[in-house]
Symmetry: C2
Subunit: 188 residues, 2 copies
Amino acid sequence: MTVDIARGLLAGGSERYEKHLPDLAGVYRDDEAYADAVARDDGEPVYWVESSTPETGRGALTIGLSVLRPGRVGDEFAMTRGHLHAQSEFAELYYGVAGSGVMLLESVEGESRALPIAPGVVVHVPGGWIHRSVNVGDDTLVTLFTYATEAGQDYGIIADAGGMRQLVVADGTDWTTRPNPDHGGYRA
Amino acid sequence: MTVDIARGLLAGGSERYEKHLPDLAGVYRDDEAYADAVARDDGEPVYWVESSTPETGRGALTIGLSVLRPGRVGDEFAMTRGHLHAQSEFAELYYGVAGSGVMLLESVEGESRALPIAPGVVVHVPGGWIHRSVNVGDDTLVTLFTYATEAGQDYGIIADAGGMRQLVVADGTDWTTRPNPDHGGYRA
């Protein structure tokens, strides 16, 4: 398999899913800005994931490419839904291929970390940590990832909590984090 | 952690091992060429691995950088020892960062594959496959890898078999494979 950086494709991968802005209701905190963005939407996907799962069961790895277009909704930068692994003890690797982003990591217990990701940067997502990619740059953010296939994904944990604890927001020409006023804590 | 391509370092990694040419007795088939190479050796490592194992146990990932200097011993290109995972059902990811190489993959049952690896190329090593990196270029081969920490390594399986089934050798200005006359089959 080969990463096609310019087009954001994993040549030789076998699975693809994409998310359009209307799929992301509830992800951004500013409802009015989100409604405006949907009204102005160009219909292109805002992010997509191409991946390959050559084997299943114990020991198998899913390998993929996450591609996130730049943008903002209110003061929040474009982001993926984020997830915890369904078998939460499984770690994940992300490797920056193109663009400028932040990996937002939060433990169920209450810790938060915002790790910059750029070409050449390796991010280790420890077991038990909820994580999402955020594009804080002007270009498409492309990251390579791999995780144990049996780990699975729990996408509901963030929605059920009213979003992640921290938001990644614009701060002049840079980014910062601020607490999410809607966050009600993660279910244990 | 950040990959320093020019220096072949994983900044922020915590473990490192290196191999010098005299450590590789028995790896190359041409004893005379190996003895000559050792006699002319500059004392620098021929390859090294920098890695990080932030967690242990089920679900943990070891992430690292494999750095292999170019060279030849007889007609064989510079290579790593290679290994099977001690828990052989565990897969591994390699991602090409710099240089030009081949990932040589062999199943215990008798299949061989030689997959080119270069910047942007993803190689999936399936569970149950013995694998080694070979540098077929003029520059240092740098690959990022990750595997489940609990997978472990079995380095003995190749030595016990008299080397891998196939050799990666020079063919004019290119590379090819030829059968290893010393290979006696892998133990089941």
